[in-house]
């Protein structure tokens, strides 16, 4: 009898020790002084590179500017970068290393939608927030959302719906899709198709091809898609994957035979590698950085473009501008909260307007989605800048593109069942 109690006592003591140790560890994190470390849990491999390598430079630029002006809370900011190779498991390892070993007080990233859903779950369990940069699945801020999740990029329901509204007015009836076989390749198509079919019940899906993430030879998928004789093809390939796809599809007369529609590829991250070889007439969501209307011709954005050009020798990509905004968002929140402690920081960031090169934005309080607009247009090569840009651009403000609070609460209630 006494022995058993002794055991129970020992267990309680051990549990106490463990809990005590973790609390102590947390306290040590909270009181850490010296540089304010920000972990960037991101992907720097393969298809992600055209986005994330320029993004890294833009983040470094933003941090240099903050440090030159005295830092945050009187401390210098330091970025620590990790590569998850687009793998959720490695992403989680990096995240924990950044927080527990490197003592990062804030997390930016990830790039991948697949990784972001893993982060959301972890963040909720461990009560640590992160500001997702490029990860675009709408499920991150809808049904998988919790208060520790923030996101800068437009999500794919937003861009998908915007594209679907334009596509609904086009004569095309037969649709096909080509995209990587993972969250970021499949979800945009589902979002696009749902809206399109609601407005146009006559739409028919004649082909769905989802090669594995990292596939470089799209030839059989291209020929199989053309074989189904679609009028329009929705392409969710991105980064170097999109560039390879275009080079391989061109000789098959792909761009003369079908209308390409894409949620990502109007961004220089996707098309700059193609230079003036980029096909014209694609209907895309994008970042027309050199457009001569607001916010692109504003002094703030022009200055941003010049600084990036000076630093990298190249004009910005979507990764650059969103990475820069992510750092600005974090800085605005920390300044208002007066601390990096996550709970007050989250409260401070909600509905807090802050200035970015693309105008004033804020994170909505019920889904922590940034109110960044989207720009939809038709691709056209501009020899002056040696790459394609968009024409006949429609601006879709966030309040039109994003779902309302009621819609999102309904989605979450449904997902719970």
């Amino acid at each position: 009898m006494t022995r058993r109690f002794a055991h129970v006592g020992l267990l309680v003591a051990l549990a106490g020790l463990v809990i005590g140790a973790t609390t102590l560890a947390d306290l040590r994190v909270a009181s850490a002084q010296g540089p304010l470390k920000v972990g960037v849990a991101n992907s720097y491999t393969g298809v992600a590179i055209p986005y994330t390598v320029p993004e890294k430079e833009a983040m470094l630029l933003a941090v240099e500017e903050i440090n030159a002006a005295g830092g945050l809370l009187g401390r210098q900011v330091k970025l620590i970068f990790r590569d998850d190779k687009l793998r959720p498991d490695l992403g989680l390892t990096n995240l924990q290393e950044l927080i527990y070993q490197e003592k990062a007080e804030a997390i930016l990233g990830p790039f991948s939608s697949g990784v972001s859903l893993a982060f959301a779950d972890w963040a909720k369990q461990h009560r640590r927030m992160f500001i997702a940069t490029i990860a675009a699945t709408h499920r991150l801020t809808n049904e998988f959302w919790n208060p520790y999740v923030f996101r800068v990029n437009q999500h794919v329901f937003f861009t998908g719906r915007a594209l679907a509204r334009v596509a609904a007015k086009l004569p095309h009836k037969r649709y096909a899709v080509i995209g990587q076989d993972y969250e970021g390749g499949r979800v945009p198509w589902e979002a696009f198709l749902a809206v399109l079919q609601k407005e146009r019940p006559d739409i028919e899906v004649v082909g769905q091809q989802f090669p594995k993430l990292g596939e470089t030879d799209f030839t059989p998928y291209i020929t199989a898609t053309l074989a189904a004789r679609p009028d329009a093809v929705f392409v969710t390939l991105f980064g170097t994957g999109f560039q390879q796809f275009v080079l391989q599809a061109k000789p098959y007369g792909f761009f003369e035979r079908v209308q390409l529609i894409g949620p990502y590829s109007g961004r220089p991250d996707d098309h700059r590698g193609l230079g003036t070889q980029a096909p014209e007439g694609m209907l895309l969501n994008g970042y027309p950085w050199n457009a001569d209307f607001p916010p692109f011709n504003s002094p703030a954005h022009r200055a941003f473009v010049d600084k990036i050009k000076k630093r990298t020798g190249n004009a910005p990509v979507w990764g650059s501008i969103t990475g820069y905004i992510a750092v600005q968002a974090l800085a605005a929140g920390v300044r208002k909260a007066g601390t990096t402690d996550n709970e007050p920081l989250i409260k401070a960031l909600e509905n807090l307007p802050f200035d970015t090169p693309l105008g004033r934005m804020q994170f909505r309080d019920f889904d922590h989605q940034l109110t960044i607009p989207a720009w939809i247009g038709w691709s056209k090569v501009d020899p002056k800048i040696g790459e394609m840009t968009l024409t006949k651009i429609q601006v879709i403000p966030a309040e039109q593109g994003l779902q309302t609070k009621e819609e999102i609460l309904e989605i979450r209630a449904k997902a719970k069942k």
Partner: protein, 305 residues
């Protein structure tokens, strides 16, 4: 049942489409064949299962990029580049063989596997250091940039070159192995390397030569695929898996097996992409599993005693 066939196989009545899928399947088969035959050749002679063979393929693509830049628009640069890139990879393979592999031919196969796996990790990092992590574009030669019409459907002219080159290389290899003295030695080494050594042949040198030839084939495949897919990290891992599927189906060490299994795997993938898009990648693995169950030594391999 009838409906099932109509949805999944109805397209087979469309002659131009079938031709197109077959043609693109055959073109991909050529890359697989070049890589798998080198892998198989090296195994047949030295009994080394070379995991790094995919890395040689990747280096072929990167060397293609570098040589095109160095040659900078000299006439016929593409063809010169193909030769130089293959030779560069052959040299790389030769150095690795002489410095490392030669020392462990008599060791346990598990050590050989570990060593070649170490090469994979090392070479992938070396490639990132030398060429960066972003994809390197290799332009197609002007004359091969357009497309030809196959029964009314455009087909990339470059792919025709790939098919032709694959056949030519296959033919050349056959001539070398069955019509030259060196080929006889290689075949003899496959049979019994100890006896060959006892008869006075310099066996280590023969092994190095074979290893270099195998590497050159992988390098050639990489250099030829570069204009289609761009040279990028990760291409080593994706090709080596497919190449192993090919040699398992065809039989390790069998040249004919590598050729036919490459065709089988690539054409199956091309046709499967139309018929069963959701599971097209699985088809080749299913064939491999069936072969492993009923003929573990492969369709054309020799049964090991």
């Amino acid at each position: 049942m009838l409906e099932f066939f109509a949805t999944h196989f109805g397209w087979l009545t469309d002659v131009s489409l079938v031709t197109l899928q077959l043609a693109s399947g055959i073109a991909s088969a050529m890359f697989l064949f070049l890589v798998a035959s080198g892998l198989s050749l090296i195994f047949g002679v030295s009994r080394i299962i070379n995991f790094a063979h995919g890395s040689f393929y990747m280096f072929g693509a990167y060397f293609a990029h570098t040589w095109v830049q160095l040659l900078g628009g000299t006439p016929g640069e593409f063809w010169v580049m193909l030769i130089l890139a293959s030779l560069s990879v052959a040299l790389l393979g030769g150095v690795l063989e002489v410095l490392f592999l030669r020392r462990i031919y008599h060791a346990d196969p598990i050590f050989q596997l570990l060593l070649t796996f170490a090469f994979v990790l090392l070479l992938s990092d070396v490639a990132k250091i030398l060429w960066g992590a972003e994809g390197k574009v290799v332009p197609r030669p002007e004359a091969l940039a357009g497309s030809v019409s196959i029964l009314g459907t455009p087909f990339p002219r470059y792919m025709l070159l790939v098919v032709a080159a694959g056949f030519l290389v296959g033919l050349a290899l056959w001539v070398v192995f069955y019509r030259t003295r060196w080929g006889r030695l290689v075949r003899a080494a496959r049979h019994s390397r100890d006896m060959l050594g006892a008869l006075g042949t310099n066996v280590p040198r023969l092994f190095t030569q074979v290893f270099m030839l195998g590497s050159a084939l992988a390098g050639l495949a990489g250099a030829m695929v570069a204009p289609i897919v761009t040279a990028a990290p990760g291409m080593d891992a994706s090709i080596i898996i497919d190449a192993f599927v090919v040699v398992v189906i065809g039989g390790l060490g069998s040249f004919l097996g590598a050729a036919l299994a490459s065709l089988l795997v690539a054409v199956l993938k091309a046709l499967g992409t139309v018929s069963f898009p959701a599971i097209s990648m699985v088809l080749a693995y299913v064939v491999m599993a069936v072969v492993l169950i009923f003929r573990p030594w492969g369709l054309f391999g020799r049964r090991e005693e």
